[in-house]
């Protein structure tokens, strides 16, 4: 019934249905991870989505409630294109490739690619992996796969369907390192003492919130909301809430 109410303009749909549907991750610690307690995703992405929705509600003067659909890295764009969600907050890197099919907001999180290895591994940075007998584990559909091939062309790269399986693969020794965005890797290292993030970030790939291609109205509202929550301290509070206690990470870095 909602699909009838919806028009081509997502913003209009959000306003008339009073619901903004966000695609968020279900398996990504710190960003979107389902909690068995509530059965809902929790994390920075989820909180940002809530804050943005509230802000858009204020901006447009309508009542809007956020609603969350769990997505996987490989399905998030698909669902956006299918109008199964209105926007995506799913630790999604802004790339020119993706920008062809979706509209991105301004960056909302300064991510960059890094490496996660078993504690005590000889691998210290991406160059150590540029040899034919090295295996790097990535996640299907992420940009990290492509960049890894640039930085370590000789290594073998295998792709897992999602982060937790990639992490399992690292744990079980299926590869020498796991690579994806630093923030996600910090999520794993904060949880498992036997792994560590090494070598800093070797790319600059900030995250953006995405709406479907051509939904410039909605995108503008999102961008404006982002500016507002940065100004009113909400953003800082959320960053501190989620990244304040990670060993080896100074959360203030993220605000720069």
């Amino acid at each position: 019934q909602r699909s009838q109410a919806r028009e081509n303009d997502s913003l209009q749909t959000v306003k008339t249905t009073h619901v903004m549907r966000w695609g968020v991750k279900s398996d990504t610690r710190l960003f979107g991870l389902i909690s068995p307690k509530t059965g809902q995703s929790e994390g920075f992405d989820v909180d940002i989505s809530r804050a943005i929705t509230a802000q858009i509600a204020k901006q447009t003067g309508t009542k809007i409630k956020p609603e969350f659909t769990p997505v996987t890295t490989s399905s998030k764009i698909q669902l956006l294109k299918n109008h199964q969600v209105d926007a995506v907050a799913a630790s999604m890197t802004i790339t020119p490739e993706r920008a062809k099919v979706v509209n991105f907001s301004k960056p909302y999180f300064p991510a960059g690619q890094s490496l996660l290895v078993k504690r005590g591994s000889p691998v210290k940075n991406i160059r150590d992996l540029n040899r034919p007998d090295a295996t790097i584990i990535g996640v299907m559909g992420t940009t990290a796969l492509e960049t890894t091939k640039q930085f370590a062309p000789k290594a073998k790269v295998i792709a897992m369907p999602d982060n937790s399986q990639a992490f399992s693969a690292l744990q079980s020794g299926q590869g020498d390192a796991m690579t994806t965005d630093n923030a996600i890797l910090y999520g794993f290292s904060s949880q498992s003492p036997n792994v560590e993030v090494v070598g800093g970030t070797f790319t600059n790939q900030p995250y953006g919130l995405a709406v479907d291609k051509g939904q410039t109205q909605l995108q503008r509202e999102v961008d404006q909301a982002l500016v507002t929550i940065r100004q009113n301290g909400t953003y800082e509070r959320l960053i501190k809430k989620w990244f304040g206690n990670i060993p080896g990470l100074d959360w203030r870095e993220l605000l720069k």
Partner: protein, 213 residues
């Protein structure tokens, strides 16, 4: 179709892995399934009980659970990648069904065949291997064929564990071209290329054997 011309390398790679997993799975499950069936048929109660238990176990839990188990738990101990985890799980899971087919085949072999052989001085194993099993296999052929078709379809489980099979490649492709509709249709055709002819052969075989009875 454009999907194919754009991605033919990816698709053919996936097709290769699907065929590989199916053939390895078939061999594995035939061997294991036969062993399970023979275990279920022996007079020795402990062996028979374990055979039954193994078959019931693998029959009643999802293939995905077995696959994930091999992928995330077993791989800690044995170094296996997604393709092997999926293929091993596939072989184990299917072996339970194959055991049922073969047991069905063996029980429909006239008991006089075993007796005839035993009366000639062959021991149980010799009589089973030389006389009963070959006939049981033949009787089980149609249902074995259907299990093989299921096995091919079930090989799509590899996509959960990055097994590089057709289904996995379908997701890679549709994640890039954002055209799931046509991608899945093209991939579907590739699955039908494998299962279709087999199922035609099986229907023929079933009708033929049904006609004799």
């Amino acid at each position: 179709m454009k999907i194919f011309t754009d991605n033919w390398q990816t698709i053919l790679t996936g097709f290769g892995y699907t065929i590989g997993a199916s053939i390895l799975g078939l061999i594995g499950s035939l061997v294991l399934g036969t062993v399970f069936a023979l275990m279920e048929m022996t007079p020795q109660p402990v062996v028979r009980g374990s055979g039954k238990a193994l078959v019931e176990f693998f029959r009643n839990i999802p293939l995905l659970v077995i696959t994930l188990f091999f992928y995330v738990v077993v791989s800690h101990v044995l170094k296996i990648n997604g393709f092997w985890a999926g293929t091993i799980a596939l072989a184990l899971y299917t072996s339970a069904f194959i055991a049922e087919c073969i047991r069905g085949g063996l029980t429909s072999v006239d008991p006089g065949q075993m007796e005839g052989a035993r009366a000639m001085g062959l021991n149980y194993t010799q009589a089973m291997m030389q006389v009963v099993l070959p006939q049981g296999f033949k009787l089980a052929l149609p249902s074995l064929g259907n299990q093989f078709i299921n096995l091919i379809k079930n090989s799509s489980i590899l996509s959960f564990v990055a097994g590089l099979d057709l289904m996995y490649q379908a997701n890679v492709i549709s994640g890039t071209n954002l055209d799931p509709f046509n991608t899945y249709i093209v991939i579907g055709i590739f699955y039908l290329l494998l299962t279709g002819p087999l199922s035609v052969v099986m229907t023929k075989l079933e009708n033929k054997l049904g006609g004799i009875n």
